[in-house]
């Protein structure tokens, strides 16, 4: 990698753009609005409302695709070498794009402030071929305060296959590659190395540096808590973190893959994984957020840890000394801390095979989608030939300072056909000490941990019964 450069180049609405001197924490949203592209709005500055959505042209498994992204969570230097479109570009030669026309004709806008964001999300869905069968969750990252959503749903459902327009034809050629970046302004530095050894070397050489992947968590700290990072090292371009392998012994998921990419690549993923993805976040977040990022932020209420704990996941960590493997259950030593040493990066997540016979992910939250868990649970069972429980995993988020497994409760389940749940719940009562906060009281969180156990065994039992019929 060469020395840091002061310039950035990218393609905005089809036109090449060059910029320099802009502070690296500047969001893409602030940048485009400053250029007069004010269709994208700031509604929340934390990736919850989708009013700032824009489109990136990204490489998918089937060629170039439009990906909708919250521009409030994209630091401007991350756009280097990329190609993006704002809502203003969707009206081509004075003709409204299908989602624009559908929304305008069907009462899909009232105050209109959220509308461009909805249009962008819908446009990406239509271009991806998700038409006719409407999945509301696909627009789950866009909030509307006026309409009650019904006309937006109808606008979405009315869309046909994408028409032959210049923007459609754009997908016929390849998406821009993710190239190395080393950008510097007086306010800080942003590097995007494009191989692992370069990445580790950069981190080792700058003790003030910090890794960033999708920026869906750091971006919130930047925007809301005004955290400023002197040197961000983006993992977006490191191919070693972006591998996916579905082998006979394990599924290995690159820590730098976005959730959308994982969904695309894990064709054989079990149902619970798809259910989990939908509960995890909206496409606007899934298009940027990575599995590694969700684990490395070590949130006690992150949604990936409980499921991965229930699957006995193991982490592959890369560092200056080489690679090492750590079981996920020993990855979180304390609140918001991980066993990553300085300069180390999560390379991949390995899920051993065969998968458990039964796995469920539960998330209790005030709102059913796109909310942060009050309590999340990953529960799995393996059976022996006699039908007794050979192994159990009880993993929770939101019941302590870190995502955790309750080993004692797992032991109490093993060996039984039908475990003594009151005993297991007593163990949970004794060992879990959740806190009270705005998401839920300690008592409710404990009750949910116990209740989800009941729900799991009740639904597993009723599934079994219906299978026997």
């Amino acid at each position: 990698m060469t020395s840091a450069s002061a310039g950035l180049e990218f393609v905005l609405n089809g036109e090449p753009v060059q910029e320099s001197g802009i502070a690296p924490q500047t969001t893409l949203l602030d940048y485009i609005r400053g250029r007069g592209l004010t269709g994208a709005k700031e509604g929340c500055a934390e990736g919850e409302c989708g009013a700032c959505a824009v489109l990136f042209v990204k490489a998918g498994l089937n060629g170039a695709a439009y990906q909708s992204v919250n521009s409030c969570l994209v630091p401007l230097p991350a756009v280097a070498g990329q190609e993006l479109y704002t809502v203003e570009a969707l009206t081509e030669c004075g003709e409204l794009a299908d989602p624009q026309r559908a929304m305008a004709e069907r009462g899909g806008s009232q105050c209109g402030y959220c509308t461009p964001g909805f249009i962008v999300s819908m446009f990406a869905q239509q271009q991806a071929g998700h038409v006719g069968r409407f999945d509301p969750a696909a627009l789950g990252g866009n909030l509307c305060r006026c309409t009650g959503y019904r006309p937006i749903r109808e606008a979405m459902q009315s869309l046909g296959p994408p028409r032959d327009t210049p923007l459609r034809r754009r997908l016929g050629s390849a998406a821009p590659a993710v190239l190395p970046v080393d950008y510097e302004s007086p306010a800080g530095r942003f590097s995007r190395p494009c191989n692992l050894s370069e990445c580790l070397k950069l981190a080792a050489g700058d003790p003030a540096s910090r890794f960033v992947a999708g920026n869906t968590d750091l971006g919130v700290m930047t925007n809301l808590r005004h955290a400023r990072f002197p040197h961000l090292i983006s993992l977006e371009g490191v191919p070693e973190l972006r591998e996916f392998h579905d082998g006979p012994r394990c599924v290995e998921i690159g820590a730098g893959l976005t959730l959308t990419e994982i969904e695309e690549r894990w064709g054989e993923a079990p149902d619970f994984f798809h259910d989990w993805l939908r509960l995890f976040a909206s496409p606007l977040i899934r298009n940027r957020a990575t599995l590694g990022g969700n684990l490395a932020t070590a949130s006690p209420i992150g949604d990936s840890a409980p499921l991965l704990l229930a699957l006995d996941a193991e982490l592959c960590i890369a560092g200056p000394e080489g690679e090492r493997a750590v079981p996920l259950h020993s990855f979180f030593p304390d609140y918001r801390r991980t066993s990553l040493d300085r300069g180390e990066v999560l390379r991949s997540v390995r899920i051993p095979k065969p998968l458990p016979a039964v796995t469920h992910f539960y998330k209790v939250a005030k709102r059913r989608v796109d909310d942060i868990s009050t309590v999340a649970a990953g529960i799995s069972l393996r059976f022996d030939d006699s039908g007794s429980i050979a192994a159990a995993r009880l993993a929770f988020g939101g019941v302590g300072p870190v995502p955790l497994r309750v080993f004692e409760a797992e032991d109490a389940i093993v060996g039984a056909h039908a475990p003594d749940l009151s005993r297991v719940k007593e163990i949970l009562r004794r060992t879990l000490h959740p806190m009270s906060d705005h998401r839920g009281s300690s008592a409710y969180r404990l009750a949910m941990a116990q209740s989800l156990l009941d729900k799991f065994f009740w639904s597993t039992e009723s599934d079994r019964r219906s299978n026997q019929r």
Partner: protein, 777 residues
């Protein structure tokens, strides 16, 4: 062709969809030397400011100026009535209250400058709950009282003589407006030296008044413009004013354009919300559920300043009857003064809180007596000829029953109720519930003088028209309706009418766009102005067409008479040459309304908007989570001027009500900080909150005489249709137990529902107590 009554899209729908529609903050790139403002926030809910040195901020590169009380040429207060909102307080009265402001070339510079400002505080004890305020007798105002007596005497004796009595209380949570566009103002000097303020405000005239007050100048030196708002819902009725005042003060001091925009987390921390309420009640009733007497005490959490809390509380008292005759009533209300954000107007304006209490009570009565809640509600409906507790005849009271009957039929209510009982009997860990609830909502500002509006209509020589009126556009479709009404009145095409941004230099002394009355008031004023212009054109046209004045008609951009026709532009041009003025000032004042707060009687409302909703929910017994399976709404919108707009108001209001009653939980922490000050902690309704089956209809044959186009107000009333969801949730909770009384504070979060389920299950396990038996007997 006529446009009124047609289901047209919002007049800005295309611009919304393309991103071309501009909001106040979208104007920023137009100013090269604009300054950004950031506040110095007090880290206490209650404290004295001992020392404040803002100069340190000036050492931050890019900081242009600071704003403190010393910079205020006029009065440093933005409180609309009581002047109780110091912009630069010496005593901090809510957490994060701004004590000074910093202006920078960039927002980052202003923020870093603000961080440098040294402030010394002496912390004082805050009052953070309604209960603590009551204990400390910390009230902004009250008691306000409304009483009526029956043949049993006053409420207390009517209750004492009733065969059944219950007492209880209900805690009602507030609600964050969460307009997608946060508070924003840009102030600058215009080309003539006047101050021009672009503001996202529902009340430009009051914003103008406050800016003039703070600068100590006459109002004619200040113009306020509101292009459009990205939602408001009451949250920009008075709460836009302080930010406009700070922007104006900054422009005054620096002679540069100044932008004040609150990012979401500041907007939520600093601005007022829907009032939380605590209600305490004692009720007497008959064996068939008929109300005999109600004693009601309402405590609203007003927060740190008075704001609109008095009329909000009055509206709660006006609406504590909802659609029901309460023969004897003693309702008293207090506005609690707490060290929290200053609670303010929010769609429904206290009406929802008052109405929720009586709905809660009626369900308790039904379950106490073992009766079906819908029958108890029906039993207590107002009938034709009844009078409210404030002495106003209930106009069209029969509509309550008509809507009820039609909705029960169209929603298949009875059959579904039976089916739900069947489902609940065989389903182990889930319960369904169904409920139907009515709405009666009074239309007019209860402060009578606000019920006036003005319009300025300008016709140009080509026949095209600019319409100015005092109302603001916040997404509710006011401009769409105004355009339809003006085009029809003038007989011209829609695109010949341009509705202008709301400006105080076009129509002065306007009322807030609020109380659902935007179209009633401004629409009537616009029609009045159009009629005046038309009346002046008639003799000109009659001369040109060689017909009587009475035969002249205006249609499709043509003027017709005596089998002849002329393009309107031609007639207009003749009128111009004949020196006929082609502009007119229209006005409107709502007739025959009055209210005397001393006696709490009068006819405060022009009419009532009615509606009803039937909703069905399913609750997960493991977690307390719920789903809304189906909702059927029937709303009385009169003759709808704009059916697509009204449908949007009904659906959107309903979902916003669902949000208030279920997912939206406002919390403050022990220090008095808003604990849910952001989109990640405060959840708006999203797709799953939309009912899986969602049917909305308007009442037919419902023209409202004396209102423009025979239409009715629609902004607020549908919000309260969401009570059907809350009551359906209580119905489902009751089914986890023995159908007993369900105590459920609001909002009905999964945690509260879960606790109520646990209570219902416990009642099933516990032996029936003799006392409970006696009540039922």
């Amino acid at each position: 062709m006529t446009f009124s009554g047609q289901p047209l899209s919002h007049e800005s729908a295309r611009e919304h969809a393309t991103g071309e529609a501009l909001y106040t903050d979208d104007l920023v790139p137009r100013f090269s030397n604009l300054l950004h403002a950031w506040p110095v926030l007090a880290p206490h809910a209650h404290a004295l400011v001992v020392r404040l040195d803002a100069n340190a901020a000036l050492r931050e590169p890019g900081v242009a100026a600071t704003l403190t009380l010393a910079d205020v040429p006029g009065e440093g207060d933005s409180g609309s009535n009581r002047h109780d909102e110091p912009l630069f307080p010496s005593e901090v009265t809510y957490h994060s209250q701004p004590v000074a402001w910093v202006l920078g070339d960039t927002l980052e510079a202003a923020r870093l400058g603000a961080a440098r400002v040294a402030v010394e505080y002496r912390a004082l004890t805050p009052i953070l709950t309604i209960e603590d305020a009551i204990a400390a007798e910390s009230f902004h105002s009250g008691p306000f009282r409304m009483r009526r007596s029956s043949s049993d005497g006053a409420a207390d004796s009517a209750i004492a003589r009733s065969p059944h009595r219950i007492a209880g209380q209900l805690a009602i949570g507030g609600q964050e407006h969460f307009y997608l566009e946060t508070q924003c103002s840009i102030a600058r000097f215009d080309e003539t030296g006047g101050l021009l303020v672009d503001s996202s405000t529902q009340h430009p005239s009051e914003t103008q008044e406050i800016v003039a007050r703070v600068l100590g100048i006459a109002r004619h030196q200040v113009s306020v413009q509101c292009v459009r708002m990205g939602g408001a819902f009451g949250g920009k009725e008075v709460q836009a004013n302080p930010w406009a005042a700070i922007a104006a003060l900054g422009a005054w001091k620096t002679k540069r354009p100044v932008r004040v925009r609150l990012p979401r987390h500041l907007d939520m921390a600093l601005t007022g919300k829907r009032h939380p309420f605590l209600a305490k009640f004692t009720v007497g009733f008959d064996g068939d559920g008929g109300l005999r007497g109600v004693d009601l005490k309402l405590y609203s959490d007003g927060g740190w300043s008075l704001d609109l809390s008095d009329p909000v509380l009055w509206r709660a008292l006006f609406h504590c009857d909802n659609a029901y005759l309460i023969p004897a009533l003693d309702a008293a209300g207090w506005v609690c003064k707490t060290h929290k954000t200053s609670q303010t107007a929010f769609r429904g304006f206290g009406g929802p809180q008052g109405m929720m209490v009586i709905e809660d009570i009626l369900d308790r009565i039904a379950r106490t007596l073992g009766l079906e809640p819908a029958r108890v509600r029906e039993r207590n409906f107002y009938r034709e000829g009844d009078v409210t507790h404030y002495g106003q005849p209930v106009k069209d009271a029969a509509r309550i029953g008509r809507i009820w009957t039609e909705l029960k039929q169209s929603s298949d209510f009875e059959a579904r109720r039976q089916a739900i009982a069947g489902f609940n009997a065989v389903t182990p860990h889930a319960r369904r519930g169904i409920a139907i609830t009515p709405v009666k909502f009074g239309i007019s500002f209860t402060a009578t003088f606000f019920n006036q509006a003005g319009a300025l209509v300008l016709m140009y020589r080509d026949g095209s028209v600019q319409v100015n009126h005092g109302g603001t556009e916040m997404g509710q479709g006011l401009h769409t309706k105004i355009r339809q009404l003006a085009a029809d009145q003038l007989g011209i095409a829609l695109d010949a009418v341009r509705v202008m941004p709301t400006r105080t230099d076009k129509v002065p002394n306007t009322s807030a766009t609020a109380a659902s009355a935007g179209t009633d008031l401004n629409g009537a004023a616009v029609v009045d102005a159009c009629r005046q212009i038309q009346a002046r054109l008639v003799p000109i046209a009659a001369g040109l067409l060689a017909c009587d004045d009475a035969a002249v008609r205006f249609e499709n951009g043509m003027v017709l008479g005596n089998a002849n026709s002329l393009p309107l532009a031609k007639v207009v041009d003749h009128a111009y040459r004949a020196r006929v003025p082609l502009f007119a000032h229209g006005c409107y004042r709502t007739p025959e309304i009055h209210f005397d707060p001393k006696t709490a009687t009068g006819k405060p409302f022009h009419y009532f908007a009615y509606g009803a909703a039937a909703s069905e929910v399913e609750i997960d017994g493991f977690t307390g989570e719920h789903r809304i399976l189906r909702a059927d709404l029937l709303e009385d919108v009169g003759n709808s001027v704009s059916p697509l707009v009204d449908l949007g108001q009904v659906e959107g209001g309903f979902l916003q009500g669902i949000g208030w009653l279920t997912v939206e939980e406002l919390l403050w922490d022990a220090q008095g900080r808003v604990a849910t000050a952001g989109a990640s902690t405060y959840k708006l309704p999203s797709w799953p909150e939309m009912p899986e089956v969602f049917n909305v209809a308007f009442l037919e044959r419902a023209a409202e005489p004396g209102v423009v186009f025979g239409s009715k107000a629609v902004g607020e009333p549908p919000l309260m249709l969401a009570f059907s969801v809350r009551e359906a949730i209580r119905d489902a909770i009751a089914a986890f137990g023995e159908q007993g009384v369900v105590e459920l504070d609001s909002p009905a979060t999964p945690e509260r529902i879960y606790r109520a389920i646990e209570a219902a299950r416990a009642s099933r396990k516990a032996p029936v107590s003799p006392a409970a038996g006696a009540v039922r007997g």
